[in-house]
């Protein structure tokens, strides 16, 4: 079973990202489970959401304390929240940022991938400068680096479940799939 934790801010589509990932996994015949940490939904306030993916029915119903993958939709959160708390050393950290990992101020020694999901989202007219909608872009990058779900099932999930701007969202996912950069283990 693979456990993924999403970090974002109210209004950025964090919960929808975790749900779309679940839909994509289901499309590939896997068993998904996705749920938000239901806290204070305020535009701008930190939001956490979780997705579990397995080949068989999932037998646990708790929040995810030791994720295999952490996805950060908003780089601003890196300064205020310990996004890598409990992240397995062998895990993956995917961050929406245009900075290289060593400038992110995080001490995670495992695999890191970055993508400028904000730039991509805005380029496709998704959200505003104040509140970019980066969830579909980040999922495109996720498909590339996670090895869990393929881009086709992500695109199909977007087509089925994203209510507005389906084409722009699919294009953003494809764009991010192409532009995500991976960084092997940082040795400092």
């Amino acid at each position: 079973m693979i456990e993924i934790r999403f970090h974002g801010r109210g209004g950025q589509g964090t919960v929808i990202a975790s749900e779309l990932l679940a839909q994509a996994a289901f499309i590939e015949g896997k068993t998904p489970q996705s749920f938000p940490f239901f806290g204070v939904e305020r535009r701008g306030a930190p939001v956490t959401a979780f997705t579990r993916i397995d080949d068989k029915p999932i037998q646990v119903r708790t929040s995810i304390m030791t994720p295999d993958i952490v996805v950060v939709l908003d780089p601003g959160l890196l300064r205020t929240i310990n996004v890598t708390a409990g992240l397995k050393p062998t895990g993956l950290l995917l961050v929406n940022t245009d900075l290289p990992p060593d400038r992110l101020g995080i001490d995670f020694m495992g695999r890191v991938a970055t993508v400028d999901a904000t730039g991509i989202a805005l380029a496709h007219g998704l959200g505003s400068r104040a509140t970019p909608i980066v969830n579909t872009a980040i999922l495109g990058a996720f498909a590339r680096v996670s090895g869990l779900v393929g881009l086709p099932s992500v695109l199909e999930a977007i087509a089925k479940f994203v209510p507005a701007k389906k084409d722009a969202n699919r294009a953003a996912a494809e764009d991010a799939f192409d532009h995500v950069t991976q960084f092997e283990v940082i040795v400092r």
Binding site: G10, G11, V40, E41, R42, R43, G44, A45, A130
Partner: protein, 296 residues
């Protein structure tokens, strides 16, 4: 100190959890500037329950009593009774509830409190839907507005019913004082609150509290939208004292309602005929208000 048009002292703090550009936080801020320190505010389940930060912190520098959703009117009767029984002098008791918590689930308790002539101030901050739970329609949502429970389709054109006129309902209870206030006009907001503070008996405020995510506009426009609400006569500013109506902001000619509607995503779907129908409703309500003001 520079010349200020409203009192400098603050009675609430930063660090609260309101959305950026929230009108409801300004409503509380200006209310307390008018009330001053010696107050207890009763707040039911509403945005402010959560805006007011989790345990162990509180945003208000005055007392705050959480109450059940439908019971603000009763809660302030209880606070007033205790203040009198405990002989606490000079304490202002305030109820601060949302629109749903007042016109829908809380209407009975409000009516009871008014009928009992409780010596307290009840403020309804009106963001025109159940915002804390994600913009579901309330009795105070304007006709035609999109909410999560009045979606827009070919057949469903947003809220069907008209906005419940809470001021008319309150006026029927013959309150000691009632007024509408708008965060876009802080000077008048504070002045009316200071006036009400000096009056004994049940007093009521209908405070417009623009809401960026709920109304569908970018946060920096909150004050602009608030201004437009009044200047298009969608939200007229007036007061009722011992039954006498007085309109406190009258423009030569009101701006067309369209200017207010098209600035908000919740009205983005309206066709010209629907806009015209809303204009008619606004004009009729304004005309009636003028007639009420003419009554001596």
């Amino acid at each position: 100190m520079a010349r200020l048009t409203i009192p400098y002292e603050e009675y609430m703090r930063s660090g609260h959890a309101a959305c950026p550009g929230c009108g409801a936080t300004l409503a509380m801020r200006y209310l307390l500037k008018g009330i001053g320190r010696d107050a207890i505010v009763s707040i039911p389940a509403c945005c402010w329950t959560v805006i007011g930060t989790p345990f162990p912190t509180t945003v208000l520098n005055v007392g705050m009593m959480d109450s059940a959703f439908e019971a603000t009117g009763a809660s302030i009767s209880g606070l007033r009774a205790a203040a009198d029984a405990l002989k606490l002098e000079g304490v202002t008791i305030v109820g601060f509830a949302g629109d749903g918590g007042t016109v829908d689930i809380g209407l009975q308790a409000l009516s009871g409190m008014l009928e009992r002539r409780t010596d307290a101030i009840y403020v309804m901050y009106d963001n025109e839907a159940y915002m804390n739970t994600g913009v579901q329609r309330s009795g105070s949502t304007p006709r035609g507005a999109r909410t999560s429970t009045t979606p827009i389709t070919e057949f469903s054109r947003g809220k069907v019913e008209r906005k419940k006129d809470i001021m008319a309902i309150v006026a029927a209870h013959e309150p000691a004082y009632a007024a509408t206030v708008n965060v876009a006009f802080p000077e008048e907001f504070v002045k009316k609150v200071q006036k009400a503070k000096g009056i004994h008996g049940p007093r009521f405020f209908h405070a417009l509290a623009p809401c960026p995510p709920g109304w569908g506009y970018s946060p920096e426009k909150s004050i602009e939208i608030g201004r437009l609400a009044t200047d298009t006569n969608a939200f007229p500013l007036y007061e009722i004292e011992d039954g006498k109506y007085r309109i406190t902001r009258k423009l030569g000619r009101a701006k067309p309602i369209e200017e207010y509607l098209k600035a908000q995503g919740r009205f983005g779907h309206l066709r010209p005929d629907e806009v015209a129908s809303i204009q008619e409703e606004v004009d009729a309500r304004w005309k009636r208000l003028l007639q009420l003001e003419a009554l001596d």
